[in-house]
Symmetry: D2
Subunit: 434 residues, 4 copies
């Protein structure tokens, strides 16, 4: 669905401990198919007339290894969830727990409370020991049973915490801010020569983590977003010159707005951060909207929260605790602009604004995401038990892969506006090609 | 679920044409059980030690009559939907159409466009002739296939329109504003001695039309509202001292806020228009919220849009086109008050605000509402064909009834805060008894 | 929705302990509105020309009492769920728990495992002590967190168990078989002069418990049943002369089949236990179906599992463990009869059979049922704390009532085929009036 | 999710008319990114230590071409839907229509009725002319608005029909039987030198068409299947030694059973056609089930309809009209085997059987499938307008591709039991590795 920007990775760094793998993987029923570190997945699948110049780019394939680094009987693992919610967090936690305990026989799994705060003793928070009873029902709920928080903590403090609690493996569920924190923690631990594996599981409702084709929670968010768009369409059609406007998540990338527009097939304009659309003028948004209203009697607009920042009074350099830039509200701005335009043009209209905000990210995961979450969690466990560290589990070309965190955080993932997804938006909206 | 205020109705006015019922009801399969006009439904079912002083209050029971006023073969009926959307409008339209055409054999049914605007030729709108193909799929969609609009039109203009189009029966789907318009139109027609039956079908997402225990669309709205409250709860639990606040519809009556709170069983404070809660002070809302946060680590607040108006700068006498008073935004106000309170008290918190707005009213109807809509529509047809006019179909004590419009519009329906529903709220929230 | 058969109840037996109410109800926030035992709810609301001859029939109204029998601080309550599943069981359990602990301050609440089996020490099952943590999430799940089983246990054994465990109050969730067992247990305890309150909460997916207008779980079951009917309709329309047949629950009463047919508005034939439809002949089911197929090209049939027993080889006197008579399979029978008929008539057809079976009863409750479950549970607690026993909580004319168990189990509730619900079926299916 | 079997395709046949592309693609807004026929997508993305020996295998990438074969203004296109239903058929029809009319300006689009029957004049069926009004709402419904049927028709008769109706392009939505019919028709037309483009869109609820990673309708079916599995789990836990068994679609491939088991994470045994599990013996299914019941008190079994055929009396060579082999009923067989086993072992149990059958395939499409359907439909239109024929639109490695029909129908797609999906099943069920 998403076309990756070009990237040139000569090779991957070593994301494993430089030590022998002394233990055999337990002969659990699923151990049907061990992978070697030499199994790799190609990134590029397109061939063109000119040939494919970059065949060598590939990532290590994720999966269980025959020989592992940690002795399950003596291993303590911990899980932490950071940043905003995304559907499926509990599913990942549950599958990590079951993979550790049932597939590998690990006996002690801790849940750290409220993000990286839970690795700082000053917070007064204490880890909880996860049990089968605790994790059994959690996948039916949205959110995270561990709580979350935004923002980093001092890597040294976190490393102290892990060592004080004899934690051998830490699974970090979070976005790029979290993964940066995970890398800093990993570096700190390496500098201490501590053999603590740090494995990231990418979480982004906006689908903007590189090397993760579809991040978990994304299709669930689309389902809810599409439901709200349908309501906007119903409202728009129910009124004289009805305009339904829906604001959706997407600070820097318009994947949710674009995806929800395509699945709805009822959207007239999709506005995303990647395209600086003109507001005024013959080909501008307002005149285009007016034409659509005159022609069809109603219109539906989907706007990503990060769209149209060029129109807003900038100067704002506010950031939230995770370091994300805070945006001025494009939804409010566009409502006002539309009202002024139609009033000035003396065209009666009825504008209905819907902002589902957190609603699309707090619901339980749909089946697609539940599958993804299960596999993300289990592959993270396979990687960690094999002594790998400083990587996230990625997903490209239908395969789970190991991606070194430095590569993940050095890239940004935006929508390719000459690619398939944006073409699908243009085909369904027939909006101008700004 | 709702306790009606006391009302003293000595008797009902005559809501029928003073003429003989010349036609026999067709022998359609459903004609198994004709009702007499003397069949009546009691309003009051409570007996107390002191006895029941008001046994005589009752309404005519709705249902098919053996003898009817209009000759189906020569009758033209029309339907109009007015005001804001409510789940089930299309279901009512569909059942009205099928009852007319299949049960009675009426051959011409018109759909008037965009509310009372569609009865004003100046609007340029034209009625559409409803067909089986047109109405067949509509019940799967939210909204109204006829469009809607707010506000009244001149009764004389509307009466002219009905007469010019040979319309014998008009079904008006709408709230109390609409029913007032319907009554004015009925009066105008009576003064012309025109035998045009005006039958209202009460539509109110807020459940605030008297003599309608549960209005159609209400439980569907609760289902969506409860889903959003669950998200607010998930968000609140996912953060440190998380506060989830949900604003719900309810200008003058808190039925949606109260009902959704009870079905959620996850709400800590429910704020409704009927109760002027204190903001400050030991027993005020803010201190109560603070105690709940300290005790449980999170809290969920549900606020009806019409709650807390005593706290807002009044003076506003703005009204929308239907004449409803426009309220200042209690959601914005409370957000700010909470932020100030917790900042001043130096308690960290995370406030998430959800305003589903139109989302809860634009969705398709749930089964409860689909049943109600079908019966509301069919009973309206039975009433109209029997020559009744100037009434709405009501629903009390599990029976459909005929209620004269003047009685409906002379009353207001609010929640009885000493009744069962509000007790259910207090039991589930354990909030203070303000 | 349902018209009760006539019943003549001169008065109600005493369903309370013959002792003083020594304790005051705690001043919890919800204690806003105490009821007196003299508050009663009328059953009959219909008035006819001949007058209403039976005004005296009424039931005690449910609700909190100012003076209570049990001292909360020293009270032990227990809950048991019996028989087949119904949506909402967990919601009732949860509200019973919260009403006991938070509204009254009861400190010990037990969950008995797997129905009445859990009151028989031979089963090896042990009660679990319910906690806030245990009951908090259960309402999001279908089924019962306590487990269930069918069939009675020896009243003396159960009474011994209650006394041995110092249980003062037992809440029995179940259908008429369960309530008979509850009555036998109550009699046994009375004969021992044991002050153990037995309060029933009626559970019936088939909606066939008397004095309970809509039993909890029923509208949820309709929602799922209607979804399956929609699939049958889609399948029927997708094929040449497509016939979609759906079998639904309903051994002795056709409420589910009838209700789901009305809310679907896509059903051509609804077959229920209350009506012995003819299979053959000009007006029989098969010829009627053939005409519908020829006319419309497709048809949808809904059949209750207890319908058409007159057509099946009887002689079967098998009963399940709860004593319910086992029926021969009308779904299989009708499939075969339809195939033979259309083959003999050489009409091509495509018959799709859907039997959702347990699917409609194992899902979580919808909002309507969640409201009902909460109030059923809380009113049961109010009744028990006030020292009432040998009754169930009923629901008529929008009010919760106390109904003595002997009255409940002495009646059967079937659909009134001259009433509103069946008329609604006939109106929407236009099937023959067999 | 699915690992393809090895395949060695040296090159693709020519799937286009041997004539110049005389027309320019219209400059619709979506025409942002034309593809060349030399753009190809690699199948194989795995690299192993031994190197990748088969780099050359690839398919033409789907997408709009700058130069097209058909003159839109004079082109007639038709759509036909064949075989069993799958969620999303209407979405494909709708997107094909909009791509033809809005993106290319084609003016005449026909819907052929009831599968290939609609191409046989003897059926008495007539094409319908598709309009915007007709297709606008259809994507909200399951099934196919065109109707369907099973089985082939004479290619010569169908070719006559196309030529007689001046049809230039035929889109065939169906499974492998349908695509075989499409190929026969294409061959017939080529032999007549008729320039009629035949483009297939693969439809398979079982996900068993090669070169289509996830076929549309599959994730929707999983959502419903998972819901039913959850009910089975609820039923199993609600009883003493409860066993919930769910039969799911999947004649020859176990993708639905496997996928639904993984997303449920509540399944104890998944039985699929690809693995001939032993029934008896220490490691057999029955003893394994018994151990699970003894250990956990309940168990959930998911069985694909085509599983366990080695256990059933074979000899059956019955086939349905599409040529699919009819299977004896493994669900009935296993129920009986389980009852006998537990009775003989004198272990009490409660077995609940759920067979959702058509329910999982007649529902509307979820967002994932809606995206897929839109793109499948639009890419089929791009291919056809560019003069390509005798191919289907496939989907591998996140790219849409052109696959010659002979290659599709010469392969079978089964689950790779040494691959990721089956490992995910084993990990979540912990069932024996039969």
């Amino acid at each position: 669905m998403i076309k990756q920007e070009d990237l040139a990775i000569a090779c991957l760094g070593e994301c494993r401990f430089p030590t022998p793998l002394d233990f055999d993987s337990p002969s659990h029923p699923a151990a049907n198919h061990f992978l070697e570190d030499s199994d790799r997945i190609r990134l590029n699948v397109k061939l063109s007339a000119a040939g494919d110049a970059d065949d060598s780019r590939s990532f290590e394939e994720a999966g269980p290894r025959k020989h592992i680094f940690f002795n399950p009987a003596e291993t303590t693992a911990a899980i932490v969830t950071c940043g905003g919610l995304s559907p499926g967090l509990n599913n990942v936690i549950r599958s990590v727990f079951y993979a550790l305990t049932e597939s590998y026989g690990v006996r002690r799994v801790l849940g750290l409370r409220n993000g990286f705060l839970g690795l700082n003793p000053d917070s007064g928070m204490h880890p909880i020991t996860l049990t089968k009873e605790f994790v059994e029902p959690i996948d039916k709920f949205g959110g995270t049973c561990l709580g979350s928080s935004r923002g980093p903590q001092d890597p040294a403090v976190m490393a102290d915490f892990l060592q004080a609690n004899n934690i051998d493996i830490l699974f970090c569920l979070g976005g790029d801010g979290t993964q940066r924190g995970a890398q800093a923690l990993s570096d700190e631990l390496q500098s201490r020569q501590a053999r603590v594996s740090i494995v990231g599981i990418p979480k982004t409702i906006d689908n903007d983590v590189p090397f993760v084709r579809l991040s978990f929670g994304f299709t669930t968010a689309l389902e809810k977003a599409a439901e709200v768009i349908r309501c906007a369409h119903v409202e728009a059609r129910g009124a004289v010159n009805g305009i339904g406007m829906v604001k959706l998540m997407g600070r820097n990338a318009g994947f949710i707005a674009a995806g929800a527009s395509v699945v709805s097939q009822e959207v007239d304009f999709t506005l995303i951060p990647e395209i600086a659309f003109p507001l005024h003028g013959e080909q501008g948004f307002l005149s285009s909207l007016e034409r659509r209203i005159v022609e069809r009697g109603h219109a539906v607009i989907v706007v990503a929260e990060g769209a149209g920042q060029h129109l807003l009074k900038s100067g704002s350099t506010e950031r939230d605790k995770s370091g994300n830039q805070l945006h001025a509200d494009i939804g409010e701005f566009l409502q006002q602009a539309i009202r002024q335009h139609f009033d000035r043009r003396e065209i009666p209209f009825s504008l209905k604004y819907l902002d589902p905000s957190y609603h699309i990210r707090s619901v339980p995961a749909d089946v697609y995401d539940r599958f993804l979450c299960d596999q993300m969690g289990r592959h993270a466990v396979h990687a960690a038990m094999a002594g790998k560290t400083g990587l996230i589990v990625g997903f490209e070309n239908s395969h789970y892969i190991h991606v070194p965190i430095p590569i993940v955080v050095s890239q940004t993932k935006r929508m390719d506006v000459s690619g398939d997804l944006w073409r699908a938006v243009l085909e369904s909206t027939a909006q101008p090609r700004w």
